[in-house]
């Protein structure tokens, strides 16, 4: 019970922002790495990924790799908002779905090319985020969470009920794949290079924006909103910028998803999945650059690994999540640091 006295003070703060700020101080300090190594490590990792289609024993594994890369885009974009900006969106699956349906409907109902659908999906989701974000992001606390949750709920109803446009609960059929000239990217192997390239570009964009003036402003706002304001940072506008960026990236992921599967159905974009994305950000390591990659790996691989356990799958997943979060609140990317902390003796916690 040595840790009991430590807990009293911070057991739970009555103000929602208090605890977040302390945690974000941590992450802001750790992420201030030099620019070049991160870029190189990213390129290196993606080069290694490029060997997957050659090393994979079957095409199923390549399809999982595609899914993994789409999940990387989704979770990394959410991490941009949540890990660095301290704002929890419970509508990320909704933005993902909006991107998928915009791109998919343009293809299946209007007959436009996927190459037009992709930027259209990005613009539509970004614009939607702008409309929701303007009134909500002036406020602190749970309001973005609530507004995005409501937004996701509305979207799911629309996906289900606007049957003529979306195909309703049966899903949207007849979506054309990406194609270059007459070459259709309609197998997992052919899709892989495209998903690989787009996910790399998104990750580079995230890295770039984090190291820019805006990224520093965002971290300042997340750490201390009033302090950032005093330095002349427009906190509402900064949060809005990242909300729109993060939604736009989810839109890109949606467009990739719908043209690869040539199909979309409402349950893929449920609030429960939005919550799972938030969980994956936390499990991987919120506010770290590599955390989302770990999170996407868990999100893609764990359901496959637990497939044999059927009914117990959910329980194993829930227990695993609780154990990781209780033992390593900073996520898997924070495990090395946590182990160092334990090793270095239990000194007083930073205040």
């Amino acid at each position: 019970m040595a840790c009991a006295p430590l807990m009293n003070g911070t057991r739970a703060s009555s103000h929602p922002a208090g605890g977040d700020q302390r945690r974000l101080n941590h992450t802001a300090g750790r992420s201030a790495a030099p620019l070049l190594p991160d870029h190189w490590r990213l390129l290196l990792f993606w080069l290694v990924l490029l060997t997957v289609p050659f090393a994979a024993p079957n095409e199923y594994l390549v399809s999982l790799a595609n899914l993994f890369l789409i999940n990387v885009i989704l979770i990394a974009s959410l991490n941009l908002l949540m890990g660095y900006g301290g704002q929890i969106s419970l509508g990320h699956a909704g933005f993902f779905g909006l991107g998928a349906y915009v791109s998919g409907i343009l293809s299946a109902k209007v007959g436009l090319s996927a190459w037009i659908g992709l930027p259209a999906a990005m613009l539509a989701t970004g614009l939607a985020a702008l409309v929701i974000g303007v009134p909500v992001l002036r406020l602190r606390g749970l309001y973005l969470s609530m507004a995005t949750l409501g937004w996701n709920a509305i979207l799911v109803v629309m996906f289900n009920r606007l049957v003529e446009l979306t195909g309703g609960p049966n899903g949207l059929l007849g979506v054309a794949p990406f194609s270059i000239g007459g070459f259709r990217l309609d197998t997992d192997l052919r899709e892989f290079p495209l998903v690989w390239l787009v996910s790399l570009l998104v990750m580079l964009a995230i890295l770039h924006v984090l190291h820019s003036r805006f990224g520093r402003a965002l971290r300042a706002v997340a750490t201390n909103e009033l302090g950032a304001e005093a330095l002349g940072i427009d906190s509402a506008r900064t949060k809005l910028l990242f909300f729109v960026l993060s939604a736009g990236m989810a839109g890109i992921a949606g467009s990739l998803y719908v043209h690869i599967n040539q199909y979309a159905s409402p349950e893929t974009f449920s609030i429960s999945n939005s919550i799972l994305y938030v969980v994956m950000v936390a499990l991987g390591g919120s506010g770290t650059f590599w955390g989302p990659v770990l999170g996407a790996l868990i999100y893609t691989a764990v359901p496959q690994l637990l497939l044999d356990y059927e009914d117990a799958e959910l329980m194993l997943f829930g227990l695993g999540m609780l154990i990781v979060l209780i033992a390593f609140p900073r996520g898997l990317a924070g495990v090395p640091a946590a182990l160092r902390d334990w090793h270095g003796g239990r000194q007083a916690r930073p205040t």
């Binding site: 739970a12 703060s13 103000h15 602190r140 749970l142 509305i154 109803v157 609140p329």
Partner: protein, 292 residues
Amino acid sequence: MHAATVVQLLVIGVGTGSIYALIALGFNVVFKSTGAMNFAQGEWVVMAGMIAAVSFATINSVALACLAAVLLMTIVGIISERLVIWPLRHPNPLLITLISIGLAICTRSLMMLVLGKRPVGYPGFSKTESLGFWGINVQTQTLWIFGITLVFLFGMHLFFERSMLGKALRAAAADREAAAIVGVKVETTVMLSFAIAAFAGALAGAIITPLTLASYDQGAAFGFKGFSAAMLGGVGSLPGAVVGGLALGLLEAFGSFYISSDFKDAIAFAVLLLVLFVRPSGLLGRAEITKV
């Protein structure tokens, strides 16, 4: 507009609204003591319904089955807090929120594994199923829902205003350090808030199950509705939960009748978003939120 239709919709709206109010109250109590959203709240609602159904099958008394379910769920709330919240070394609202998601997943799968996947239920509290008068039709269970919710809310009001424990809980929520100085055992208030939240959720589950049946996968939906009601009324406020719950229930009832039942949820959430945009602190919430 036909008067009987309006009264009928009012009854339906206030009925579901009472359930939402109870769930929202649970949300608010935990939010007050931890600053976190408790995603397990909705799971407790259906778990109570399922436990009551299983108990009813063995003891054949609705009242006793419901009582057992509510008491058991209160204990589940306490155990949950001790297992997953209490061991945290550096708790903060975000972490507690995430942990509660894990707790919700475990609770749901526990229900599925132990209590089964089939929707279960039991008869209403009264022998007569429904009463008809002045051209409207009221299910007796709805009247029970009104009554039990009212009694519970009154009890909660007394608890927070009169009892030492309730006052301690409020003091700790207002200012932890100051409360600790005057002798409030601040560590136990989080556990107490989980117990109250589970109690309120379980009560909602026990009284709604005769009308809707309970199945392990309904928890999230109840949770979201309760969360929305809490936000609508003003998060952290006790009367806010009641007003938010009733407003959401009425909104759904009238929206699905006069506009479209297909879009019922969309209408409710759209109004909720509008309210948030116009009055961010909710209908009754104090303007605690700093505008920047």
